[in-house]
Symmetry: D2
Subunit: 199 residues, 4 copies
C-alpha cells in the first residue's frame, strides 16, 4: 500500500465489496454455507444461536476492506492457477496445494486477525476437519483449484465466530446489569448523529 | 482464551476499559501524546487533519478489547520488571530491553493488526524514530521500565492512523459522489434501530 | 527490544535456554509429552515417523530464542496469576482463561510462526481437541493456572510438525534423486559434512 | 497448503530456489542492493559489519522456502498487474498501489517473521524512508508495477538484519567466554565442525 493519495485513481469501495460478492458466488460459495460453518463452530457455546445471526456476522466480516482484499487476491490466484496462467513453479505449487506453500494460510490469517487472536483456534479446527463447504472446496478431483478459497472460507467463519463472541459478551453484560463499555463498533452504533457528521 | 462460558466469573468490559485508562495514566502516557504521534504520522497525507480527530481515533483504538488486553498485559510486565519481581532471566531481559527479546513487538503487533496490515509501516517508523512521548518512554536513565509500553504506544498511534485512512477514504468517496459501501463500523452506525435490537 | 548494545548487560543465551527447560519441567510438561502431540499430528502423513524424531524436532523448536522468550513470558504470567499477584482485572482474565482474552494465543502464534504459516492449522486443531498433556493443562479444577502454557505447548507441537514437514520434503527429494536446494539450516549443516549424519 | 503427500506431484526445492533468483533478477533487484539496505539498517549497531556478511545473510534469508513462496507470489501479482491481466477491481488496486490494499504488507510480514518479531521495526523504517533500491521500485512513472516487490525487498533486508542480530549475539557470547547455547541453525552446523569456520 502507499499512503499517498493519487490524483486520477479513485477507489470505489462499493465496487470492491460487490466484486467480493460476485467472485465468491462465481466460485460456488454462498454466505449461507459459511454461516453453517459458524453454526458448527459456535452452537455448543451459544445454544440459542440462530442461522440468521450467523449469516449477519458473516456479512459483517465480508464488509471489511481487509477481508475483501484477501478474498479477491486469493480467488484471483486460484482462477489463474485453474487456467494454467501462472509461471512455473508457482503454477505447480498452487495447482497442487503444495504442502510447503503457506501463502494461502497467510492470507487466511489476515482475515481471522481482523477480529483478533481469539479466532486462531477455530480457524485451525475447521481447516483440519473440513466440514460442509470446505470438504467440497478441498475435493481435488473436480479440476477446480480452491487452494486459497478453501482457507479463506474457513477464516471468514472463524472471524465471524470471534465477532459473535464479542457481541454475546456485550449482550450478557447487559442482561446481568453489569457496567458495559462498548467497543468501537457499538459506540458508533449508539451515536448515529455524531458519527454521521464525522463520517 | 477458552470458549466455555463459566458460571461464577463475569467479565466486566467497563472495568477492563477503565483499568486500561488508569494504567496508561499511571505510567505517564496521555491520549493527547498518542494523538500527537498520529498527527506526526498523518498530517502530510491529510493536511486538514485536526488534533480532535486524532484524539477521537486514539480513543476508538483504546475501546477495543484486543487492544486493552495487550496494554494491560504489557504494562503489568513493565511494572513487575521495574519492581524486580520477575524470575531470572526474564527479569534481566525485560529490565534491559534486551535486543533478542521480541515479545513486546509481538504484543504491539496485535494492536496494529486490529485495523489491518496497512499500519505495519507506520509502527516501524515511529518505533525507530522515537518522536515525542516515545523518546521519554525510551529513556533508560530514569529507573522506570517501559520495554512494553514504548512499543504499545507506537502501535496505538499506528492503529489510529490506519483507522483514519479508512475513514478519510469513506469521506472522499462521499464527496466525489462515488458509490460507497460501509465497513462493519459504519453500517452499524447507519442503522441504529436495527442494530440496537440485534445487540 | 532495543537494537542498542549496552555495556554492562550481557545476555547469556545458555541461561535463557536452561531457564526454559527448568520452567517447563517445573510446570509439569515434559519434552516427551509434547513429542506425543507431534506424533498425534503427523503420523498419518508420515507412517514411519519415530518418537525419537518427534523428540528431536521438539528440542530444535525449544532451542530457538523466539520460542524461549514466549515460553518464559507465558509461564511467568501463569505463575503470577496462580499466586494472585497480577493487578485487577488482568488477574481475573488470566486466572479464568477469559474468552475474550487472546494474548495467550498471540504468544502461541509467535512460536508457530518461527517455522512458517504451514503450522497454523495444526495449532488450531490440537488447541481445540486438547489431546494428551493439553487435557491435563486445561483442567480448571486443580487450582493451577496454565492459561498460557496450554496454548504454548500446542504451538511448540505445531512448530515441530512444520519443521518435520520441511525435513521430510528434503529427504524425499534426495531419495527421488531430485535436485535439492538446502534451506538455511541444512546448508549450514551440509558445509562440513552430509545432512544424513545430522538427522 | 495441504498435508497430504500426493503421488504424481514432486516438489523440486531447487526449482523453487532458482525461480526466486530468476524473478528477482528479471524484476531488476540484485542481492547486493538488498545487502546495501541491510548495511543501512545495521551499521550503526555493528560498525565492523562488512558487505560480505550482509550479502551472506540476504542469501540465507532467500534460501528459506517461506520467503521464496512470498517472493514468487508477490512478483507474479506485480507482473500480472503490469500486463493488465487481473480482474477488476484487483487490477486497479495493485496497479495503483492503493492505500487501503494491504496484502503486499501481509506477504512482506511473513518474510520478516521467519526470523522473528525483532525485525518488525526495521521493516517499517525502510518501507517509510525508501532508501536505495526501494526508491527506484517505488517510482510510479516507469510503467512498471512493483507494489509487492517494493515491500518484499524491505522485508528481506529486515529479516537479514534480524539474522545478523542473532549471529552477532552468538559471536559476542563466545568472545566474552559466556556459556553459549546454539539455536537450531548453529547447533546443526556445530555438530560436524566448529561454527567459526562456517561464519
Amino acid at each position: 500500500m502507499n499512503n499517498k493519495i493519487k490524483g486520477p485513481y479513485s477507489l470505489n469501495s462499493k465496487a470492491v465489496a460487490e466484486a467480493t460478492r460476485h467472485w465468491m458466488q462465481e466460485r460456488g460459495v454462498t454466505v449461507d454455507e459459511i454461516a453453517e460453518l459458524v453454526m458448527f463452530l459456535q452452537q455448543k457455546y451459544y445454544p440459542t444461536l440462530t442461522m440468521e445471526e450467523c449469516v449477519h456476522n458473516v456479512e459483517m466480516v465480508l464488509s471489511k476492506r481487509e477481508v475483501q482484499n484477501a478474498v479477491l487476491t486469493g480467488i484471483q490466484l486460484d482462477v489463474l492457477a485453474e487456467e494454467g496462467k501462472l509461471f512455473t513453479p508457482l503454477q505447480d505449487m498452487i495447482e497442487n496445494d503444495e504442502g510447503l506453500y503457506g501463502v494461502d494460510e497467510i492470507l487466511a490469517f489476515s482475515i481471522v486477525n481482523v477480529y483478533g487472536s481469539i479466532g486462531f483456534t477455530n480457524y485451525g479446527y475447521v481447516d483440519k476437519l473440513k466440514p460442509g463447504v470446505l470438504e467440497r472446496l478441498n475435493d481435488k478431483s473436480t479440476g477446480q483449484v480452491h487452494t486459497y478459497l478453501d482457507d479463506i472460507v474457513g477464516a471468514i467463519a472463524a472471524a465471524a465466530s470471534s465477532r459473535i463472541a464479542h457481541r454475546k459478551q456485550a449482550e450478557r453484560e447487559q442482561e446481568l446489569g453489569l457496567p458495559h463499555a462498548p467497543e468501537d463498533v457499538e459506540e458508533a452504533a449508539r451515536k448515529p448523529a455524531a458519527e454521521d457528521k464525522l463520517e
